[in-house]
């Protein structure tokens, strides 16, 4: 079993070939070796560049709107009558989700690299929406690759992308969801890597993209770390950080600053998409013991058949509907630092109903999976246990699905 080293950020705990234990690496065509290497060198330079950090912090504060609030959900806590339920309302960030951090950083890097074009993939449409916002803000031309099925089910985010001047490229291959969008985006980059910067929308893909994304979303836990100390005077003795996991960018960012704590004090629970109750399909490779395979340039636990063909997933939540998962999470699972479980479509929907009924909060279907787990475990826990759920997206984008499934939206 691999151990997490203390004193070094987890994103840097890979070997020279880019592997965190058995996971990650760079399974890429020869054409991408050079652009990936260039990006690796540039990122290494920029993260040690005070001016760049100042610039990032300036935009995080003044444009993204950091810090997002950390609040107690009093009604939900009283209703569940167990552990205290708190939430980090990351959906307050400009654009309505955590994807803005990665999009902002990638756009700033693209500027420094002298690239005029930026491309990205999206599932729920948040990564695409945020990239289109950041591209507009920083004067880059933007193309977003999105599965045709997702374009239909996440219309509000598509409207936003178009309003920001981005071109949405519909992807009709395979299951027409996130997995196909990422493939198509990478293929586009293979053909255009001389003029174009690529932003991978989550902590997936070749090593450097995992690192940049994890580095960017870690803003969430940096804020939370300070907010917890302000609120409790210290990091609570019994703390549980619950987050949904698709690719794994919000959860990694939500946990990073607490990585070195003993898991008995700060426990991480990642909630994957279990799919419809009656379906065998799911998007939960960590929970259901999927085998290691290669997807989008990295070794990871991934849903696949015995031949190595990637399997189709099924989830009500477009943002979690991905057959693989970040190498960082595979590593955290094997190191036993984080625990992973799944919530079904139905559980996520009823969690959404309960949270919106009791609280002035509108979590999208992705964090509703995390709330489902919190609702499940809180009643069994003591009142001095602090559960904090990352409410990492706003449900506006799910308007059509919620209307269809619940008969109403808000």
């Amino acid at each position: 079993m691999k151990k997490i080293k203390k004193g070094i950020p987890l994103i840097d705990q890979h070997n020279k070939n880019g592997f965190w234990g058995k996971f990650g690496g760079n399974f890429i065509p020869e054409t991408l070796k050079k652009p990936v290497e260039d990006l690796t060198i540039l990122f290494k330079k920029l993260r040690n560049d005070k001016k760049f950090i100042q610039e990032r912090d300036y935009y995080f504060e003044n444009w993204v709107g950091a810090p997002t609030s950390f609040i107690k959900l009093e009604n939900l806590t009283n209703y569940l009558n167990g552990a205290q339920i708190w939430t980090k309302v990351v959906s307050e960030a400009n654009g309505g989700a955590h994807k803005i951090y990665n999009a902002t950083v990638h756009s700033l890097i693209a500027k420094r690299a002298g690239k005029k074009y930026i491309v990205g993939d999206t599932g729920a449409g948040y990564a695409g929406k945020m990239l289109s916002m950041a591209a507009k803000k920083f004067g880059l031309k933007c193309k977003i690759f999105m599965g045709a099925k997702d374009i239909k089910r996440q219309k509000p985010n598509c409207d936003a992308m178009r309003a920001n001047g981005a071109e949405i490229v519909p992807v009709y291959t395979g299951s027409q969801t996130l997995v196909d969008a990422v493939s198509e985006c990478m293929r586009y980059w293979v053909s255009n890597c001389d003029t174009t910067h690529m932003c991978v929308g989550s902590t997936v893909g070749p090593n450097i993209f995992v690192k940049i994304c994890g580095w960017s979303t870690s803003q969430i836990s940096k804020e939370l770390f300070i907010q917890m100390q302000e609120e409790f005077g210290k990091i609570p003795k019994k703390l549980i950080l619950i987050n949904c996991v698709g690719g794994g960018s919000s959860s990694f960012g939500f946990w990073n600053e607490f990585m070195h704590y003993d898991k008995k004090q700060v426990m991480f629970i990642g909630v994957e998409a279990g799919g419809p109750k009656k379906s065998k399909r799911h998007a939960a490779p960590l929970t259901y013991g999927s085998k290691i395979g290669i997807l989008h340039g990295a070794a990871q636990y991934v849903n696949q058949n015995t031949e190595g063909q990637i399997e189709e997933t099924e989830s009500i939540s477009a943002g979690l509907d991905y057959p693989g998962v970040s190498p960082l999470h595979c590593f955290l699972k094997d190191a036993k630092r984080a625990k992973y479980t799944a919530a079904s479509d139905e559980e996520a929907l009823s969690a959404y109903q309960l949270v919106t009924k009791l609280e002035n909060l509108n979590p999208s279907l992705e964090p509703s999976h995390a709330f489902a787990e919190a609702i499940k475990i809180a009643p069994k826990l003591s009142k001095d246990t602090i559960i904090c759920v990352n409410s990492c997206g706003d449900a506006l984008k799910d308007r059509d699905i919620l209307r269809q499934k619940l008969g109403k939206y808000k």
Binding site: F27, I28, E30, V190, S191, D194, G293, I294
Partner: protein, 267 residues
């Protein structure tokens, strides 16, 4: 030392003062039987046959090869069928070199050692793994060599000269030059002259390696590459198969005609 079948094929072409013609078709496209028939017929004109083992999340293939791959997978092609196709093919065409080409996850799931052993058993002469670049491929390449299988390294317009030298040093009998920044089957967006400049640069580093050019090569432009050691045509063939199926024509006949014509254009 006994020369590899791949080397022998190139030597024969050099004697005839023409580039080798390499074809790429997907195993199982559109059925196991048909893909074997296609192979048998085009191997009368092609010098080396590349056979793709299809994967459903390819990150370097354009639309034509994707379509062929999805079609083959949909029709149920499995690794064992692919080896069977090669085995049957090699029974009739003992000296025709076969190169398997695909993505690493398929090999990884099959097991590297088991895969190489099986390749050797059925008569595979070379392997191309699209997403296993140098230096990550060093160990796998060594295993191939030990089993007298060529591991074919790829070079791209983005490959720097120092890197090129190292890759060439670790290469076997054949090297694959990607013509341009593109997925397979893209429109040739750089001039053949420019591609040949890059080609010559590589040849200068080591003359003895057989260097083939691929990506974007079609009947229209193949005659511009007569100076190369070899040319690979893939997407155009896959497209012909798709068109033939669409028009309810016999893909074997149509593809055979196309490859015959390609060969003629190299003379």
């Amino acid at each position: 030392m006994i020369s590899s079948q791949i080397n022998l094929a190139f030597n024969k072409c050099k004697k005839e003062k023409r580039p080798a013609l390499l074809t790429y078709t997907v195993a199982g496209d559109n059925t196991k039987k048909k893909s074997l028939e296609i192979l048998n017929s085009i191997s009368n004109h092609a010098d080396i046959c590349e056979i793709g083992f299809p994967h459903n999340t390819p990150i370097a293939d354009g639309g034509q090869i994707q379509t062929s791959s999805y079609r083959a997978i949909k029709n149920g092609i499995k690794m064992k069928d692919i080896f069977q196709i090669v085995k049957t093919f090699k029974k009739n065409k003992k000296t025709k070199p076969v190169i398997l080409m695909g993505y690493y996850n398929m090999i990884f799931q099959y097991g590297e050692n088991k895969f190489i052993k099986k390749c050797k058993q059925v008569g595979v002469n070379g392997i191309i793994v699209v997403d296993l670049p140098w230096p990550e491929n060093k160990l796998f390449a060594k295993k191939c060599k030990k089993n007298s299988i060529n591991f074919i390294q790829l070079l791209s317009p983005t490959t720097s000269k120092p890197r090129m030298k190292k890759i060439i040093r670790d290469s076997h009998d054949m090297i694959y030059l990607i013509s341009m920044l593109s997925t397979t089957g893209g429109k040739l967006k750089v001039s053949p002259k420019k591609i040949l400049e890059n080609y010559n640069k590589i040849k200068k580093i080591n003359k003895s390696k057989n260097l083939v050019i691929g990506f974007g090569i079609t009947s229209k432009n193949i005659s511009s590459f007569k100076k190369a050691d070899g040319c690979v045509v893939g997407s155009e063939i896959c497209k012909k198969i798709s068109n033939s199926i669409e028009k309810r024509q016999n893909p074997v006949k149509n593809v055979n005609y196309m490859v015959k014509n390609l060969r003629r254009k190299l003379l």
